[in-house]
Amino acid sequence: MNSAELTLDEHEFPAAEHDAPAPRAARKGTLSISVLTLAAVLFIWWAVTTSGLIAPLFLPPPQAVLAKLWLTSTKGYMDATLWQHLGASALRIVLALAAAVLFAVPVGIAIGLSRRARGVLDPLIEFYRPIPPLAYLPLIVIWFGIGELSKVLLIYLAIFAPIAIATATGVRGVDNARVRAALSLGASRWQLIRHVILPSALPDILTGVRIGLGTGWSTLVAAELIAAQRGLGFMVQSAAQFLVTDIVVLGIIVIAVIAFALELGLRTLQRKLVPWQGHTH
């Protein structure tokens, strides 16, 4: 599923930037359609809840959710404000992401460069990658307890595979002429990796990070089921147990907004770091 999504995005982006004025207007058109859609959904939500068509227990009206946003940010819910929940979740995902990049990129490079490393690591990654994190969550709890480590580890595992696989793909796709050029300028093996292979694979690595962050963020809720005291997933989970539906909806919206912001941020970063994409053959 990931690869299909990946190719689509890759091609959509540079193309939209290159062709001059018409697509820009088209993009603006798409944006206004999206904004209208959101507004329509919001309106229907407001209409069906305020008119009493749906009970607040099942779907609270938007203004109630907005009020809860104010309440949770100032007074808090479950002994922590919304921002503290958010901070706890963000810290976990940042730690997991940092660890994943630190380990997955070298692993991906090894898989891409060495037949032997590929033989060893590829089956291991492909074995655990398709397993839903919730399935191996109990095992992680048995091994590492219910502390912070287990939560970060679960997210880490979800992020690791996409980055490693994307890095390996990027490394295998490095232009052979560039490698030869560096070798004929006297590059050592390490210099080749540092100066040619790693920067060449950077676009793919960033795509891997994007996909990894997506799966990581969705694993977060699962991770925070493990006896958490704080976190957005925990907040939603405990609110659900008490049927506080407006907090549940609020939590879901915050999670969605953060995921969307991360995606946009990474796309911007990708364009900043890899401005030549689409320019070279």
Partner: protein, 267 residues
């Protein structure tokens, strides 16, 4: 600096690619003397790219050996600079960093390598383009950056893999003249491969004609048109000289004769 008498020698080299029944190169011998500009000319499949890759050290011969100043060539190295057909520049570096890349790999300090890169950029008429992004340059300019990158590392021999093949006719002529000027100024020996007959006759001091199935050298010619241009004679005057035209037609006839012979042999 190459001492007088030092040579790059290809000695009875054959190449057989794994999984292919045809011989890519059969018993090829070639010497690239100092100050010479050797051009290998031939249709695709004649083994000229294989020959260049051998000298560059990208592939190893099945039999025979290659030596540079007596030392056997076992792999790629900075003493043999390569200019590629599709520039092979690093898009995340700007022009000057691309040119200084070889010096950076050798551990030369930033100030020194940039000074050297600036000097080489001036040689290839790219003064003022130091901070440009390479993906914003035209094909001809990128190729000049590629040439500058190879020159900056101060190799003993310059290997050029159809360097002007992807350029349009006007730019190609400019680049040929630029190459001759640099060849004369730097005194570097050059080994260039091409399938463009006029280019080969114009540039070469030694022209080797190659033919496919199996890839081999079928003719060697000593020419002086490139030297004449390097000595100051305008390119148009050289190229419109009846002697040049006669030589071009001679080479053309040879290429066709060998091609027909190959086709007849295959039939």
């Amino acid at each position: 600096m190459s001492q007088p008498g030092s040579r790059l020698i290809v000695d009875h080299v054959s190449v057989q690619y794994a999984g292919s029944s045809a011989t890519a190169l059969h018993d090829v011998s070639l010497a690239i003397a100092p100050e010479s500009l050797v051009v290998a000319l031939g249709p695709s499949g004649c083994g000229k790219t294989t020959l260049l890759n051998l000298v560059a050290g990208f592939i190893t011969p099945t039999s025979g050996q290659i030596t540079l100043d007596g030392k056997p060539v076992t792999g790629p190295g900075a003493e043999r600079g390569v200019v590629f057909q599709d520039d092979a520049l690093l898009p995340w570096l700007n022009v000057i960093d691309n040119v200084a890349f070889g010096l950076q790999l050798q551990g030369v300090g930033k100030r020194e390598r940039e000074a050297r890169a600036r000097q080489v950029l001036q040689q290839v008429d790219l003064h003022g383009y130091e901070q440009q992004k390479v993906w914003e340059l035209s094909g001809g300019m990128r190729q000049r950056v590629g040439l500058a990158r190879a020159l900056a590392a101060d190799p003993q021999v310059l290997l050029m893999d159809e360097p002007f093949g992807a350029l349009d006719a006007f730019i190609r002529e400019q680049m040929q003249e630029l190459l001759l000027r640099i060849w004369r100024q730097s005194g570097k020996r050059v080994f260039l491969i091409t399938h463009d007959i006029e280019e080969a006759v114009f540039l070469a001091t030694d022209l080797v004609l190659m033919s496919p199935r199996p890839g081999r050298i079928v003719e060697r010619l000593s020419l002086d048109f490139g030297r004449r241009h390097a000595a100051g004679e305008p390119a148009r005057s050289v190229k419109s000289d009846p002697e040049f035209i006669a030589m071009r037609e001679h080479v053309l006839a040879k290429v066709f004769a060998h091609r027909n012979a190959t086709i007849a042999g295959a039939a």
